[in-house]
Symmetry: C2
Subunit: 294 residues, 2 copies
């Protein structure tokens, strides 16, 4: 078997297409969706992420601004800025790029954002509502996987879905979403992680495997059953002398062996990656709508 | 094999014993732990639960008051009362007995309680912190199971733990607790529910099974592996002509067959049940401490 590739760029474009109508409608109603991104310090990877978010906003008719603060910014100053942004009616989405410098407590900062503008879905209120299956801002990467499922008619209901990795950004929220009694979820969910005795015992039973471990070769072809759907959230930089830059990006799956057994698989890059920013924009438009209705 | 019984009354008494010192200390510091329970309407089961909570408080040196409101109380009136209790510095814990009459939105009421007095652990902020592995009020029944584990030296780390049932009160929060990278957790967790194709496929692999489905005979002896730990949260009323009242309480496990295969099992009644109120009192003392420190 050669697995069908699940192309995140196609799904993201479909999301942008649908968003365009919503954004046009909002503008007609006198509301310009506006995302503010805050970045503290000079981490090059973070800067690239922030730049990509800004570009995606520009391209899709969402106003966006990036506030760059020096690495020595105090927690109090950052809290002051958040409070200002909370109170600014023009701002609909607030995103603080993580990680923050060590002297700033990330949880304090995240909790300071009003939940209504928390387009990353990281505020405890949004996490708690997610756990309860209530309406909320879903974190972007899990929400992106959900959209891939929808686009490719992958129905988790009654399936055994194994998540590898228990991060707060992907693994745990996605597991929580998939175990809910919802039309688009309702899967039997297993969460594996670094303390799991034998990951393959679980993946061999799985209909769907979601990889969010952050390690190459976490899943090999002999660990899954034929026809399994593999969603690969990993983006690991590996050295490659033959690549132009001396490295390339690979997922958590051993792609060559997994694609021979799986029924469907997301490539890296071009799978889940493009969905994360698409969902950020979707959350921003949602925030604008809800705040504008108020 | 005849399973060892895990006696929740013994564990609860150990908790009360430890709490006594904390309560004495608080009183010496001029703080009297105080729980307010609000009940709306005349549901007899709810009234019994509330009475039991009140008695446990009395017996263990925690001041408690029950506010009984008529079934026709409006949502606005209940919100007004919550707001008053939030602002009353003497009150450390606020518990609104569920279910509420249909015309009152439970989520609105729960969200109105300040998270610092939410001793049930049902506020989105506490749920969200639980999901993130942060310090919070843990919901009472899952916290009670954790204490049973501790008392009987059951270590979930690296074990495969299967939860049957995805309620917001037991199944989901307990699954979330057990998948965290904590000394007392760190299990590989599977959540089964009504849409699970074949529950026994999962339970047969499990080292620990937690039953929170609300149906008798959810688990039978042929569904588990020898030595498995079975925690039974179910309390189902079944007719029994030979019983004095015409009925008796049974758990979700088919006790007679499961006890022959399991290594340990909680009986019903007398297993998890007594732990729920013990944890409510523990949360109330915790709330009093934190609010008093402020």
């Amino acid at each position: 078997m050669i697995a069908q590739l699940l192309d995140g760029r196609i799904v993201a474009n479909a999301v942008y297409h649908d968003l365009k109508n919503e954004i046009d409608q909002l503008r007609e109603d006198g509301c310009e969706p506006f995302l503010t991104v805050v970045i503290v310090g000079d981490d090059p990877a973070s800067k690239t992420y922030v730049r990509n978010k800004h570009r995606a906003c520009e391209k899709n008719g969402i106003r966006s601004e990036t506030i760059e603060l020096p690495a020595e910014t105090t927690e109090a100053d950052l809290l002051g800025l958040i409070s200002e942004l909370n109170g600014n009616d023009d701002v609909h989405g607030i995103l603080v790029q993580l990680p923050l410098p060590g002297h700033i407590r990330e949880d304090r900062i995240i909790e300071a954002i009003v939940p209504e503008k928390d387009v990353d879905g990281f505020h405890p209120v949004n996490r708690g509502k997610l756990a309860a299956g209530a309406d909320c801002f879903e974190p972007c990467t899990p929400a992106g996987i959900r959209h891939i499922f929808k686009h490719y008619h992958i129905e988790p209901k009654g399936k055994h879905l194994v998540v590898i990795g228990r991060s707060q950004i992907v693994g745990i929220p996605f597991a929580l979403m998939m175990m809910q009694k919802k039309e688009w979820a309702n899967a039997t969910v297993t969460v594996c992680h670094t303390a799991t005795a034998d990951v393959s015992q679980h993946t061999k039973m799985a209909d769907i495997v979601v990889l969010a471990a952050g390690h190459p070769h976490t899943l090999t072809g002999d660990m899954i059953k034929p026809g399994c759907v593999v969603i690969d959230v990993g983006t690991n930089r590996v050295e490659d002398a033959q690549a132009e830059k001396g490295y390339r990006w690979v997922g958590d799956a051993d792609f060559d062996s997994v694609k021979e057994i799986a029924g469907m698989i997301t490539p890296v890059p071009g799978g889940v990656g493009p969905m994360t920013i698409a969902m950020l924009l979707k959350n921003t438009v949602r925030a604008a709508k809800l705040l504008h209705q108020k």
